[in-house]
Structure formats: C-alpha cells, structure tokens
C-alpha cells in the first residue's frame, strides 16, 4: 500500500515538475509547482514525517505559492515568447548538463548502502520541537525569526513605489 501511494505521488511530482519547466505561461508553471509541492508533502507523510508534511503544505503550497501567484497576477504576466533568443545550443547544453548531473549523482546513489532502522519512525511535532530548542539548534531557530523580520521589512522597502 505504501509502495502504490509512493509511486503515484512520485509520478505526479515528476510530471508536474516537467510541466513547471515546459509550460509557456508562468501562471501554468505556478499551478504545476503547487501540484508538485502537494505531491511532495504526501511523500513526506509516507516517510514518517507528518509534521514536515503539514508544514510543507502550510508554508510552501499555502503561503509562498500564493505570493508567487499574487505577483504574477498583479504584474499581469503573459505567455512567454517562443524559443530563447540564444538559440537551440543553449537548450541542448542545458539538457546535456541535466543528463550529466543525473548520471554522476545517480552513480553515487546506486552505491549507497541504506539500512533503515527497524524501529518505527514517526517524527511528531513534539519530537522535532524538543530538538529545535536544544542548545545546538536554539540559536539558529531564534536567528530565523530575525531573518523573517528582515525579509519582511526588506520586501516592503524594495517593492514600494518611489514617492
């Protein structure tokens, strides 16, 4: 059952990811990315991380992508023109890079010896929170809150019209 769900979600994630890159209309890409993020959230749930799965939906699919869609709709972005001005060479180079990358990292991954622990794994919010507030991660945790504040102020300052 886990396997069936995983392969369905993985197929959905891959298909949507290809659509993100291949779609001409940026809003179509955004919607495809939302589908990818939701599929990934499902896979996180299958991998025993319910907290991260829900957080992915709340933060990524529910907030960041809404921001993307807002900007796309407010800037009234139209369909992209056809082939890039730099021609077909760049396209082939990009695909060759992608293939080479997959080959190299794939070579490492196939030689990986994964022995998953047999103890049932469920990363509940309580467990993750206990880890987050320990001294080794506490500073980073508090620093991210300052980071978000800085991003908030920065985004507002960057996007306002010159008065």
């Amino acid at each position: 059952m886990d396997a069936i769900l995983f392969y369905c979600l993985a197929a959905l994630a891959l298909a949507s990811a290809v659509l993100v890159v291949a779609q001409r209309h940026p809003i179509g890409s955004a919607l495809a990315l939302i589908a990818t993020l939701s599929a990934l959230s499902g896979i996180f749930g299958l991998l025993g991380s319910p907290f991260i799965a829900v957080l992915q939906l709340v933060v990524y699919a529910g907030a960041i992508m809404v921001l993307f869609l807002f900007v796309l709709m407010l800037l009234n972005v139209r369909r992209e023109e056809g082939s890039p001005a730099t021609g077909r060479r760049v396209r082939w180079a990009a695909l060759a890079f992608g293939a080479l990358f997959i080959a190299q990292v794939g070579a490492v991954l196939t030689r990986l010896e994964l022995a998953p622990s047999t103890t049932p794994f469920a990363a509940s919010p309580r467990d993750v929170a206990r880890l987050l507030f320990r001294p080794e991660y506490l500073y980073a945790f508090e620093a991210t809150s300052v980071l978000i504040l800085a991003a908030l102020v920065g985004a507002m300052a960057l996007a306002r019209r010159e008065q």
Binding site: M1, I27, I34, S38, S41, P50, F51, V54, L55, L57, V58, A61, G62, A63, V66, L69, F70, M73, L74, S124, P125
Partner: protein
C-alpha cells in the same frame, strides 16, 4: 477485540465517508433554507414558505433551477482556471472535514444476527471520524491555506478586472485571518498538550483545576482566544460582517461574478461546508465537543447523549452566524485588514504569552 485488518479498516472508512459527506451536504441544503427563513424573521418578513410544507422544498427547487441554467464561460477566460476553481474550492472544503469527529466514539452493540464475515462489527468501538490524525489541528490549517486557491483561480480565470480585484482582495483577507485563527488555537493546544482533536475534547472534561461542568470548557478558560477565533472564523468563511468578497455593492459580486449555474452552486456549497467545518472545529476546541454541561447529563438511562450535545452546540454556533448576518453591517476592506493585522493578531499573541506563562507556573491541568 481482535485488531482490524486493512480491508476492514478500509470498509469502515468508506462507510464513514459516505455517511459524513451525505450528512454534510444534506445539512448544507437545510442551512440554505434555515438561513433564509431566520434572516426573514429577523427582518420582520416571512421568507420562502411556498415550496412544500413550510418551504422545506426550497433547496430542492433552487438546485433544480441552478441545474437548468445556461452554462456560460466568458470568451477570453482561461478555461482551465475558470472551470477548475469551483472544483478546487469544493475539494479543499471536503478534504477539511476528514479530520473532525462528528460525535463521541460509538460502540456498536453485540449483533448476533450478523453473518460470519461481518461478525467483527459486533461490539466494535468506532470513532465518528474519517482520519484520526495526530496532527489534526495542523492538518486543518494546511487545508485552509490551500482553500485560498479556489478564490484566486476564480478571480483570475474569469478575465474580468472586477473579479481579479475581488479574488486578490478576498485571498488577502483569507490568509491574513488565517494567522489570527492559528494563533488563537495555540493556547488551546498548550493546555491540551496535544494536536489531536479527540485529546483536546478530553482535556475539557469537568474538573479541570477544580472547575465544575461547563466552566472547564475552553470558551471560559481561554475566553480571549475564543473571541479571536470566532472573529477570525467569520472572516475565513466570508460571512457578514467580513464578506466584502461577495457584497453586491462592491466589485459586482466579487470573485464569483462570472459564475452561474452549477459552478456557482459548487462555490456556494464550498462556502457553506467551510462554515459548518469552522463551527464543528469551534465546538470541539472551545465548547467541549460532545461533553455535557454537567457530568450528570452525559449519560441518560444508559444512553450516551454525546451526539445530542455536539449537534446542539454546532446548531447554536450556526444560529450565531446567521444572527450576525442579520444584525451587523458590512466592514470596509481597509477596516477589515486593519482589524485583522493590528487588533486580532496582537491580542492572540498576547494571550499566547499569558497562557504559556500560566502553563509554566501552574501546569496544564
């Protein structure tokens, strides 16, 4: 009790899905009639009372009318977004009902007349909940965040500047008040020490800190959070006084201007199902779920009255929503955003600080 096999669990879940979705959609039709009649009485008129006895067939008549209306799609509209938006809205609305319990766990009686392959049902305790997630409350936030897309797609897909403005404004309203909604629930979660809805209901049992009966419900113990939740929930489901999204005087009809017939019916259905979901969640998190006001009233003559108490609390909240609609005028959009960000969120955060201090000093129970 022998543990259930995968197929038995699947059968129970399938049956629960069918029952819960049918009851909710039936409740939606009933709500349309109830709302129109109650609003009419509040406005000193009668409301629909012609179709059938007391006008009870009015929802059926509305459904038939909407079914036969012409399906219009504006020429320049993005077909996928235009047709997909009501689907997204309805899907998220129905997905959110999966984690809520609709009554106390019921224990089936011993049924000796069942055939062999159904005998595992005898005496089985079933929670009236499709999915009992450990992160139930967080899951509802996630689905609420996804609910914004119905509006955004509807507003943009119709290729109409009014719907686009309306859609963007409504989604901004929605995710602003989602923050306040989430923050108001943190205090409740701190006291219950769990994100599971059944645990939160159990934490409101009588006797918390020595308080009798209904005084240990979260609506009294966490009163500011309750007020923030109710206001934020009203804004989340686009009800008056926060319904600038659909007001006829503003932006035509907001994001659903170009929708008619069954697509409009789907959007309305999604909105009502959201309203019912929000009321059920408020009942579980603040009003004690299926707990009786006094412990003695929970079991009468050997029968568990939990379902009755739960239904009456949800009905009271729904009546409250309709009452608000009949009483208050609409809030202007900038007043709405100001209220959400500058009043509700600071109040919610301050209350979290108070609750957290209390939990550290005196413990959660």
């Amino acid at each position: 009790m022998t543990p259930l096999t995968f197929w038995q669990q699947l059968a129970i879940s399938a049956a629960l899905i069918v029952v819960i979705v049918s009851v909710l959609l039936g409740l939606f039709s009933l709500m349309t009639w109830v709302e129109r009649r109650l609003l009419a009485f509040m406005q000193f008129r009668l409301g629909p009372n012609r179709a059938g006895p007391l006008g009870l067939f009015q929802p059926i008549a509305d459904g038939i009318k909407l079914f036969f209306k012409e399906e219009l799609i504006p020429e320049q509209a993005n077909k996928w977004a235009f047709l997909g938006a009501p689907v997204v809205a309805m899907t998220t609305a129905l997905t959110s009902i999966a984690v809520l319990p609709y009554g106390p766990p019921i224990t089936l009686p011993q049924m000796r007349w069942l055939p062999e392959w159904l005998s595992w049902l005898s005496g089985r305790t079933i929670a009236l909940q499709i999915a009992d997630l450990d992160v139930g409350v967080l899951y509802l936030f996630a689905v609420a965040s996804l609910g914004v897309y119905g509006m955004v797609l509807a507003g943009w897909g119709a290729n109409n500047k009014y719907t686009l403005m309306g859609g963007l404004r409504s989604s901004a309203q929605l995710f602003s008040y989602e923050l306040a909604l989430g923050l108001s629930l943190v205090g409740v979660i701190l006291l219950a020490d769990s994100l599971r809805i059944a645990d939160i209901v159990a934490s409101q049992a009588s006797g918390r800190w020595g308080l009798p009966g209904l005084l240990s419900w979260n609506c009294f113990v966490q009163f500011p959070a309750f007020v923030v939740y109710l206001l934020a929930a009203t804004a989340e489901v686009n009800r008056i006084p926060f319904d600038v999204a659909e007001a006829e005087a503003e932006l035509v009809a907001g994001f659903h201007t170009e929708y008619g017939s069954m697509k409009f019916a789907l959007i309305q259905m999604a909105e009502y199902v959201n309203m019912i979901t929000v009321c059920v969640l408020a009942t579980h998190l603040f009003l004690g779920g299926w707990l009786a006001p006094l412990p003695g009233l929970q079991q009468v003559l050997g029968h568990d009255l939990g379902l009755f108490w739960f239904a009456s609390k949800v009905a009271a909240l729904l009546f409250g929503f309709i009452w608000l609609r009949g009483t208050l005028p609409r809030v202007r959009y900038d007043q709405l955003m100001r209220f959400g960000w500058l009043v509700l969120i600071p109040v919610a955060v301050a209350w979290i600080l108070v609750t957290a201090t209390g939990v550290v000093l005196w413990g959660a129970r």
